[in-house]
């Protein structure tokens, strides 16, 4: 592989990865487990993303949803030789091609990029993790990470939402998490058009009152559709949580992933480089302006 000896940062050249496992999450979403073909995976942090490349189709930014094996810090915090998990929804040409990949097939990967969840800021505090839809993807590793270092945090809660029960990601893990006593997991769906659902129905903000936390010493980690993040942030602010204690992971068009192509700008921020995880303190004003 020629690119291995090149200074790849400047050229932003992908490395070949192979699909080692494929899990169907929902009708349009799969989780790919991928491993480097001839190089070592670079260490990553929960909340960071990779650029996934389908040759002759294109390249898209996809959050890292976890890892398997390898590395001193174990499965979900990178390390050498780690298998990476990416949860991908088929919404366009590139993501459809990625979702169609089968074990044994290859793709290109460059990354990891961006700033992930600031868990240092959460140390000694209550942690409220709120995810909606595909927004669970970058939150999955942070749930694992907080459970691994459980004694570093106060109360720990995970609120998950989806449009319908059929759109919920990580169903088996959600079940495991619900059974834990050191993590309060609440799940809700917007609507139940299909199969039986005995859980909550309603937008994810309706779950917030169930979570006991100290507004003065909580850190919220939020990812989901932008409208959902606005409502969650507004509710948290209303309860007295400081804007700097609300972290959101934003989605914008990203083509370079290194703060050069300009597409992902939101006010002064390059979301690819200064984010995708940013505090509400940093972006709240910009998020409050339509079409900013």
């Amino acid at each position: 592989m020629q690119s291995r000896d090149q200074p790849r940062g400047e050229l932003c050249v992908p490395s070949p990865y192979r699909v080692v496992d494929r899990t169907v999450e929902t009708a349009d979403t799969v989780t790919l487990a991928i491993a480097p073909v001839d190089s070592l995976a670079r260490a990553w942090e929960p909340g960071q993303f990779n650029m996934l490349w389908m040759p002759a189709v294109g390249e898209v930014p996809i959050s890292i949803s976890g890892g398997v094996g390898g590395g001193a810090t174990g499965g979900d915090r990178g390390g050498d030789g780690t298998v990476l998990l990416h949860t991908i929804r088929a919404v366009g040409a590139v993501t459809r091609a990625l979702c169609a990949l089968e074990p044994g097939q290859t793709l290109g990967v460059r990354g990891p990029y961006g700033r992930g969840w600031d868990l240092d800021a959460a140390s000694g505090r209550d942690v409220v993790i709120v995810g909606g839809g595909l927004g669970l993807a970058p939150l999955r590793p942070v749930v694992h990470e907080t459970l691994r270092g459980r004694d570093r945090y106060g109360r720990l809660a995970f609120l998950a939402g989806a449009r319908t029960p059929e759109d919920l990601l990580y169903m088996s893990e959600l079940g495991q998490w619900r059974a834990r006593t050191d993590l309060q997991t609440e799940v809700t769906v917007d609507a139940v058009p299909g199969r039986e659902w005995r859980g909550d129905v309603g937008v994810v903000t309706t779950l917030l009152p169930r979570i006991p936390f100290d507004p003065g010493r909580v850190v919220a980690l939020v990812c989901g559709p932008e409208v959902m993040m606005r409502f969650v942030a507004a509710e948290l602010l209303r309860q007295g949580v400081a804007p700097g204690d609300i972290q959101v992971s934003l989605e914008r068009t990203m083509q370079c992933a290194v703060g050069s192509c300009g597409h992902c700008q939101l006010g002064s921020s390059f979301i690819c480089r200064d984010g995708p995880v940013v505090t509400w303190e940093r972006v709240g004003a910009a998020m409050g302006v339509r079409e900013r």
Binding site: E10, P16, T253, V258, G259, S268
Partner: protein, 384 residues
């Protein structure tokens, strides 16, 4: 480029200027400079000094650009053309790498890209002060950013900059407001001031680097005297007094941040065609599309970088929609970035006052006028 001080400006006569060009070429530089093409002054390969826009002037106003003959034979009796040096350092289309499919994936090649061409030494001959400032702005984006851009950096390192003070600003110029001209600021290898008076047609030459100073020493010259300096000062003073536009930059980022919902944005949106001309002629706009180009078989793939514009719908499109769908929001993004958030990102304004966006706007939108209007409406008690 060294930081040596070269305190002895020299005077090179017009007749001896070809020797300077020869000296630059003798150092192995290809010569790029302004020349008249298609009714405009454009940048390209220079054969001889005669290719420069000798005797030409440019008349610029919002939405209008015309060349005309002046009654003299000055080389630099004009302001700026539509093209900027950006196109030489950050080409509008550039192949970044290519890949070929193999039985087991793909092999990427980075050695056949356009970056390899960056190995060529080029001399930028006739860089206006505002353009030198624009290069410094793009240096902050591409060289001093978190991840330096390899091809830009390679081109930049090999570029020799011969700047020329501006003596004939156009009707859309406002470099004085932006602090970028009409005299040449730092960053040049060699700076010239064109003088044409009773003492003859000549150039005051100042070396900014060792190589620039060496070039001057290598051609026939004399030391500049007080009258030469006075003549050069007069050129600058005259140009300063004839700026076509001005922009009040007082607290500009803060003004823009608090006027995001000003009715003025609706007003300009009624006129803006979102054609992207302003971003293409802007010497600092750096946004790009990273494009996948494949042959029909899909076996050979190339990654191209192309200039992009925040005025297009696709620029901010994510799955599910476009962030900036209205013309109002796209013009606002461009102006607030250029004059406001650029400061937070790069510690400088994104505008150098060259006036190109005013001249080349097909409907003559004038950013200095837009800022004036925003400021006026922001005044306490102003009626919207």
């Amino acid at each position: 480029m060294g930081d040596a001080v070269h305190p002895r400006p020299a005077v090179i006569s017009r007749a001896d200027l070809p020797a300077l060009v020869d000296a630059i070429r003798a150092q192995g530089y290809a010569l790029l400079g302004p020349t008249v093409r298609d009714g405009t002054i454009q940048l390209g390969e220079l054969g001889a000094l005669e290719d420069l826009p000798i005797g030409w002037g440019d008349e610029q106003s919002p939405g209008s650009y015309r060349l005309h003959r002046r009654g003299h034979a000055r080389l630099f009796g004009w302001a700026v053309g539509p093209g900027s040096w950006k196109q030489m350092l950050f080409p509008s289309r550039e192949r970044m790498w290519s890949a070929d499919r193999t039985d087991d994936g793909f092999v990427i090649r980075t050695d056949d890209t356009d970056a390899a061409q960056a190995a060529r030494k080029v001399a930028f001959f006739g860089v206006r002060p505002c353009e030198l400032a624009a290069i410094a702005v793009q240096d902050r984006v591409f060289v001093h950013g978190a991840v330096p851009d390899r091809s830009y950096s390679a081109r930049r390192e090999r570029a020799l900059v011969v700047a020329v003070d501006c003596g004939e600003p156009s009707g859309t110029c406002f470099c004085v407001s932006m602090g970028t001209g009409p005299s040449t600021g730092p960053g040049y290898d060699l700076a010239l001031t064109e003088l044409d008076d009773e003492r003859g047609h000549r150039f005051l030459a100042r070396g900014g680097t060792d190589i620039g100073a060496q070039l001057v020493r290598g051609v026939p010259h004399r030391d500049a005297d007080a009258r030469d300096h006075a003549a050069a000062d007069a050129v600058i003073a005259s140009a300063t007094a004839r700026m076509g536009r001005q922009l009040d930059t007082t607290d500009l980022p803060a003004l823009l941040e608090r006027t995001l919902e000003s009715p003025r944005w609706d007003d300009v949106a009624q006129r803006c065609l979102t054609c992207a001309n302003c971003t293409l002629v802007c010497p600092t706009c750096f946004c790009s599309d990273w494009v996948e180009v494949a042959d029909l078989s899909g076996d050979h793939v190339e990654r191209w970088r192309r200039w992009a514009s925040c005025f297009t719908l696709a620029f901010s499109t994510v799955h599910g929609g476009t962030v900036r769908a209205s013309a109002r929001s796209r013009y606002r993004q461009w102006l607030t970035h250029k004059l406001g958030t650029w400061w937070d990102q790069f510690g400088t304004s994104g505008c150098v006052g060259c006036g190109r966006c005013i001249t080349w706007c097909p409907v003559g939108i004038d950013l200095t006028e837009e800022v004036r209007a925003l400021r006026e409406l922001d005044r306490p008690g102003a009626a919207p």
